[in-house]
Amino acid sequence: MSFRTYLLRRLLHIIPALLGLSILIFVLSRVVPGDPARLALGPDATQEQVEQLRREMGLDKPLVVQYLRYMGGLFRGDFGFSLRTRRNVAQDIKEFLPATVELTTVAMLFAIALGVPLGVLSAVRKDRPEDHISRILALIGVALPRFWLAILLQLLFAYYLGILPTIGRGPAPPVRLTGIYLLDSLLALDFRAFLIALKHLILPAFALSVGSLAQIMRLVRANMIEEMRRDYVLAARSYGLPERVVIYKYALKNAFSSALTVIGLSYGFLLGNAFLVETVFAWPGLAFYGVDSLLFKDLNAVVGVTIVIGVAFAVVNLLVDIAYGYLDPRIRYET
């Protein structure tokens, strides 16, 4: 099986996974107690009004019919109507998704950019002070509740030091192309706006990244320690290669490729945890929107958000697979 066939197969696997996800969330959203029509219309509405809305929403039909109708709409790009924002859910998602993509991507970059070097350092200086300190920090990172850390960061950097903004994404860049402020400001060559967007991102992205950072660090450390014991490391040293090449090129490429899978999975945790961070930092993102919709029993919004996040997760993991094949030729040439 060539690597291309392998990727194609992974791509095809996404379809049943997303179908399953849509069925699950569709059923779940409808079996939780509470009547969305009643919630939307408020306590003063008459029973007839509620019944009419239920009919309009198709809630009186059997579940299977509802589902097929919904999926039919989905394929035409119609996510249904939101009872809360009174707009098409697709429009809401378009508005809120970029903020979450931006937040989680930057958080992921933080986690990799800090987790990998710390993991390497910890492995190379195994059982020395540097190792102990990084490991304790990693443990704290995993254990700390995100929202609490987020509040502490706000207190320190925004309130006491006053060097970073407390909440929000800051003013939108003049041109909206992607909705990702960093990207939009760069595309418009507006570096001032880029800097402002970045300043707003640092605290929430860091707060969000800490768990993944610690996870990546621990994994890279363990993998590096294993790789450093291998024959090819000894062989590389015996050719007289400098230690930096042996560690950062020879061992790290091997150690990192096995850490990649976890990086893909931890993107899912980031999406899940994004809600807490988005709440604390008043970040107008999709996670925040999704949870609000859930509390309001805004069915179409809940299902829509879940499917979009599912797609995002699948795409990231597909990217990880591609990167994996790039880093490790054994995957590419496996027969």
Partner: protein, 337 residues
């Protein structure tokens, strides 16, 4: 008779700090390799052969401790060298061919990149000089291709772009040889070369390496448990048992007659095509944490005498060019130089 020495190991003693205690793995060995000479270090698995090679390159594991001794290479004691000085010796003056071709190549880089790395990163002096003498990549690449051709790899150009996982065991072994010889070292340490391959390919590769080092004038230390290999490739043989050298002889002399009981047992253990399989030696290599007090072979020796567990037999010259560490053989005429 004796060639000018290139490498001289004197009284090397290495202990390992293990969970069970202090393991006295290398117990005062002497070993000389002359310029252009091929020497075999023979002994069963676990007798300390590989440790000796790693000690030469300064690549001992962290729990090893060099207790005493010296390793003189071109008049310089390798054991006194600091990290960076030692790194400049490795590969450029002394190189090692690793024993397992399936694990000693980095799986995620092409053959070409691994060869190029050695030239790019190892052939440097200081950074200033490197800048001044930086050679074009094409030239370095040509050197790699030439080296692959020298180790008889067919189509070396395309080999440069291949990954180790695409190669057969024999090809990987050739690549490892190319990596070791790339910087034209004076001394090559071949650790169990070809053991992981099937016998016909092993013979072929050994023969080729033997011819290659002869034409390049390199010295080689073959580390092997296989007496057949030693006979094929070496000029002189050191027989090692439990971290000690028990017999040294010219290869043809050793195969004519073995003096030390261990050497005799080792040769008798070789299976032959005609007749029964070899006899083998009773028992196993002793425990290094609490080895026998005097002669380490005494518990397994068919000729043991009371003196064998009281006095450690020194390595004595019993006839010209032959040293034996055994109480059975008194020194010949007293001249031991």
């Amino acid at each position: 008779m004796q060639k000018e020495p290139l490498l001289e190991i004197r009284n090397l003693t290495i202990h390992f700090h293990t969970f069970e205690g202090r393991a006295r793995v290398i117990n005062g060995i002497d070993l000389v390799i002359g310029k252009g000479e091929s020497v075999a270090l023979v002994g069963e698995t676990g007798c300390g052969k590989s440790i000796t090679a790693k000690a030469i390159l300064g690549l001992l594991p962290p729990n090893a401790e060099v207790v005493s001794g010296s390793i003189l290479f071109q008049g310089q004691d390798l054991l006194q060298l600091k990290g960076e000085e030692l790194r400049r010796i490795r590969g450029r003056h002394i190189a090692m061919i690793f024993q397992d071709p399936s694990t000693a190549l980095n799986p995620v880089f092409t053959v070409g990149e691994q060869l190029m790395d050695v030239l790019v990163h190892c052939d440097d002096q200081g950074s200033v000089q490197r800048w001044r003498t930086r050679r074009p990549v094409a030239m370095l690449r040509q050197r790699c291709v030439d080296m692959l051709r020298l180790v008889r790899i067919p189509d070396p150009e395309s080999m440069m772009g291949r990954y180790p996982s695409e190669l057969s065991g024999g090809m990987r072994q050739r690549v490892l040889i190319a990596l070791a010889l790339l910087q034209r070292p004076e001394l090559v340490l071949a650790d169990e070369l070809g053991t992981a391959l099937d016998v016909s390919i092993q013979d072929q590769i050994l023969q080729e390496l033997k011819d290659l080092v002869r034409t390049q004038g390199m010295s080689v230390l073959y580390i092997t448990h296989n007496l057949g290999v030693a006979r094929m490739v070496s000029d002189r043989v050191y027989v090692m048992y439990a971290g000690e050298i028990v017999e040294v002889a010219l290869t043809h002399a050793l195969f004519r007659r073995q003096f030390h009981p261990y050497s005799q047992g080792l040769l008798a253990a070789v299976p032959r095509l005609i007749g029964s399989i070899g006899e083998g030696i009773e028992g196993r290599i002793p425990d290094y944490v609490s080895p026998p007090p005097a002669c380490r072979f005494e518990p397994r020796c068919p000729y043991r005498m009371p003196v064998c567990c009281e006095v450690r037999p020194p390595l004595r010259e019993v006839e010209s060019g032959r040293w034996v560490a055994c109480h059975l053989y008194p020194a010949s005429g007293g001249d031991s130089s």
